[in-house]
């Protein structure tokens, strides 16, 4: 581990040592065991049609550190997790190793007589390797028990067969979570301090003028296409991408919806409506980036992947509600002469944010490889003059042509869409908010 990281971590560690104990009844648990999803191409599930009969793989999550139970959720922060997939075709073979990027969370649902169900949500998948998608694995849940007593203890040892498209597999858990006892584990600190209360600004109220805009939005049928190939050089072997060539197509059906944009400005005293709208046109109001509604309801992802000496892989996945139209910046409110818009990815209905919209049952690059990951995978971008926000009708052109490189794959993505915006509502109001409390 890096020395700098260590120093920052040590600082955080020292802060943690001297912080008071949390008031909420969260519990610390010590894990033992692992959670394993293993799968293989199954002829009875049509692996031959997809081209994955020679695939077998496993995702192993091995918590090896304190696990926090918070609000019915186990947070497996920094849990080592490895995806290993072996492909054995008549003319070639390869091993793909990848890591899931997100922090696994286990949602616990209490049942009767101490029974619990533990669901890993949508983060578990085969990553860039061939295997189940997050949507395949999201419904799976471990069953176990919670012991009674002052401190929680969970026995999540169970085994569950599953099917995932052309794959069959087994979810196996040997995970047991026991109360964390620093002494028995060689705890490090015997004292805590309540010496120093946190400071902060004194609460005060501010006056804010707010403009709410609502648009009717129409998106014609469009698509994002990605052509990719395994990178040259030795490192393509890590993802079994050497010699691979493929295409991904995320098709967005024509759809309609509504989009809300909020613009605000702090003021000393109330402004007349006309002046406030003039300020908005001039780009002097701060736009709060809002996620619009799920715009395309029938996204379909299709992939073809070929490798020398291997069976072609071809698969199609429906991704309902996976693409959103965002208006304004995603993370930081801004003011200015143009308003950014983006078609970005969102989680599927079961999993929340973070789902990889380029995942089929074949191997291939991830959405973060192709679209970037900060502030989130963006399929297409565009912008509108701020002065046009108050126009009755506007058209917005989004495009997403760009190259990408690594890890394992490089390629190019393309796609464009022309979106029509019709302003249907303008609301102006003054609100008083309290800050610093």
């Amino acid at each position: 581990m890096a020395r700098k990281t260590a120093r920052v971590g040590l600082l955080i560690a020292a802060l943690a040592v001297l912080s008071p104990a949390p008031a909420v009844a969260d519990e610390a648990l010590w894990p033992q065991g692992a959670i394993t999803y293993s799968w293989h191409g199954d002829p009875a599930r049509g692996c031959a049609q997809v081209g994955v009969c020679g695939v077998q793989g496993a995702l192993v999550l091995r918590p090896d550190d304190e696990v926090d139970l918070s609000g019915g959720t186990l947070e497996l922060i920094d849990t080592p997790a490895t995806i290993r997939v072996r492909r054995t075709d008549p003319g070639s073979s390869g091993d793909c190793i990848d890591s899931p990027g997100d922090v696994p969370l286990i949602a616990l649902t209490a049942g009767r007589h101490g029974a619990v169900r533990a669901s890993l949500g949508g983060v578990a998948s085969s990553g860039r390797c061939a295997g189940p998608t997050a949507a395949d694995l999201a419904p799976l849940a471990l069953t176990g028990t919670r012991t009674r007593g002052r401190h929680a203890s969970f026995d999540l040892r169970s085994s569950l067969p599953f099917t995932a498209g052309p794959y069959s597999g087994t979810l196996t858990s040997t995970l047991v979570l026991k109360p964390y006892h620093p002494q028995s584990l060689g705890g490090f600190f015997g004292g805590s301090s309540t010496c120093c209360s946190a400071g902060g600004p004194r609460p005060h109220s501010v006056l804010v003028e707010q403009v709410d805009l609502r648009y009717r939005v129409a998106l014609p049928a469009s698509a994002v296409t990605v052509s990719f190939a395994g990178q040259s050089g030795p490192f393509c072997a890590v993802l079994d991408a050497c010699g691979a060539v493929g295409t991904l197509r995320l098709g967005l059906s024509a759809t309609r919806g509504t989009l809300d944009i909020m613009a605000t400005r702090r003021v000393a005293s109330r402004l007349p409506r006309r002046r406030l709208l003039a300020e908005l046109r001039a780009g002097r109001l701060v736009l709060e980036g809002g996620l619009g509604p799920s715009l395309a309801q029938n996204e379909v992802l299709s992939e073809t992947l070929t490798r020398p000496g291997a069976q072609d892989c071809s698969d199609t996945q429906a991704l309902p509600g996976a693409v959103l139209l965002n208006a304004g910046p995603l993370l930081v409110p801004i003011a200015g002469p143009r308003v950014p818009f983006a078609l970005s990815t969102a989680g599927g209905p079961e999993s929340g944010a973070g789902i990889d919209v380029l995942r089929t049952h074949c191997a291939g690059p991830s959405a973060s490889d192709v679209f970037g990951s900060l502030p989130g995978p963006v399929l297409m971008r565009g912008s509108l003059a701020t002065a046009r926000l108050l126009a009755a009708h506007s058209t917005l052109t989004l495009s997403g042509a760009r190259t990408f490189a690594g890890p394992g794959y490089s390629g190019r993505r393309s796609g464009s869409a022309v979106i029509s915006l019709s302003l249907v509502h303008i609301g102006v109001r003054t609100v008083r908010i309290r800050e610093g409390s």
């Binding site: 581990m1 600082l11 496993a58 060689g186 015997g190 010496c195 120093c196």
Partner: protein, 445 residues
């Protein structure tokens, strides 16, 4: 979060362990705030580095390199090191025992936007005459590397960037002579803005394996920047009392018995199906030094701190945080016996280790941890958390000048493709030094 995560602290402490040339133990508290025993960081500079290329090693069991004696003649494979874009060279100037020193380390960048950091990947085929064949593929995160500092220059051995995996293969130390070294003089460390081409192709033979090591690494040094770890806001006064400790006796060993996972869906990917073996870890931290520290608000009387350290009675210990660690770079041995269709027998040096000390209300606890012990045979990469062994002694014994703590092997572990049970014990005797106090200002906690 009030308690520290054990694995986090152990990993941090290992990462912060001193370079060989560093004459003073760097504990977590000392690194943060300086230490009344004489350590003080003067300046920390970060030199960002963009790293392209990588390291490729092709290897096979070699009779000339002694594969028969180790039982690795049937293994051949490829090892890759991917720097995943780069990292930083950290240059730390510090004073220890009245003299100025400098420590330099190359660190990989944390996870990039695509969720990857520097890693070592291996793919190894097992093809033993008369036995069945198998294939192991594994990947381990790669850590940083400390520099040697002769005559003001920093020399970083690239082999230190490699991490052993669960597959059979040469250890990083076997490859050290076949890999170039990164050599940076004082001017380059101070000003950066230089490209270092480390292309090379060399043969290696040793440890039962022979093969070719190819480096295509190119490092582009950027402009250095001073790091400031200060936390903004009020800076209250704290009292820090530290006590030097030294390991003066060490004995015993811990044995990890492992076997391949019974889950065929997992063991086949690591070629661990039907495998069994032992890893015997015999640490030898003799002479290693460290600190036990007590830290709290400066207004609290010294007696409270001394009581927390077991050096006085009658003080109030609530609100005083006590921690300690003893770190050593390498010492002891790891011996492995592995059997599958054939058998493999190997031994290697046990890497960096740490003894983490803590105080509860009634006991002094100790955890012994080490860099994942690996030999050249296939086998588990034992998880770090929880340590190799742990033990406690009554807090009442803190008053003694020497403390002997017996550490027993930890509980059963799950490793990818392997299950591990540990046994055995290690006994360590610590001699306590003098306690020194200091008042300092720090961030508000």
């Amino acid at each position: 979060m009030r308690k520290l995560l054990p694995a986090t602290l152990i990993a941090l402490a290992l990462a912060a362990a001193p370079a060989a040339a560093q004459p003073f133990p760097l504990t977590s508290i000392a690194l943060l705030f300086g230490d009344p025993q004489g350590f003080q960081t003067l300046r920390t500079t970060d030199l960002p580095v963009r790293v392209t290329g990588g390291i490729t090693v092709t290897f096979a069991g070699s009779a000339a390199a002694g594969c028969a004696a180790r039982g690795v003649c049937g293994y051949h494979g490829t090892l890759l090191y991917d720097p995943a874009g780069g990292g930083d060279i950290t240059i730390q100037s510090y004073v220890s025992a009245g003299r100025r020193h400098r420590a330099v380390a190359l660190e990989p960048a944390p996870l990039d936007a695509r969720g990857r950091s520097a890693y070592t990947w291996t793919e190894v085929q097992r093809d033993i005459a008369g036995g069945s064949a198998g294939e192991c593929a594994d990947e381990q995160a790669s850590g940083g590397a400390e520099a040697r500092m002769p005559h003001g220059a920093a020399i970083i051995a690239l082999a230190d960037l490699l991490s052993p995996t669960r597959c059979a293969g040469p250890l990083p130390s076997d490859l050290a002579d076949a890999l170039p070294e990164l050599v940076l003089n004082a001017s380059e460390l101070a000003h950066g803005r230089r490209t270092v081409d480390l292309h090379s192709v060399r043969r290696f033979a040793g440890g039962g394996f022979a093969g070719t090591v190819t480096s295509t690494l190119v490092l582009a040094l950027r402009t250095p920047r001073k790091l400031d770890f200060q936390v903004p806001g009020p800076r209250p006064r704290y009292r820090l009392v530290t006590e030097a400790v030294k390991i003066i006796a060490a004995s015993g060993a811990v044995t990890e018995r492992f076997q391949g996972s019974s889950d065929q869906g997992v063991c086949v990917l690591l070629d661990s199906c039907g495998a069994a073996g032992t890893l015997t870890l015999a640490p030898s931290p003799l002479g290693a030094t460290g600190l036990i520290s007590a830290i709290g608000p400066a207004r609290r009387p010294l007696r409270d701190f001394l009581t927390a350290l077991g050096l006085a009675r009658g003080g109030r210990v609530r609100g005083i945080a006590v921690s300690g660690d003893v770190v050593w770079n390498a010492g002891g041995t790891v011996s492995e016996r592995f059997s599958q269709t054939g058998s493999c027998l190997d031994h290697a040096t046990l890497g960096q280790g740490i003894l983490v000390l803590g105080l509860t209300r009634t006991r002094l606890s100790a955890v012994l941890a080490a860099a994942p012990p690996r030999a050249r045979c296939p086998g588990p990469v034992a998880p770090l958390a929880g340590g190799i062994a742990a033990g406690t002694v009554p807090r009442a014994e803190l008053g003694a000048a020497r403390i002997t703590v017996t550490l027993n092997g930890g509980p059963s572990l799950d490793d990818d493709g392997y299950t591990i049970s540990t046994s055995g014990r290690v006994s360590l005797t610590l001699r306590r030094g003098r306690a020194v106090a200091r008042i300092f200002t720090g961030p508000r906690f």
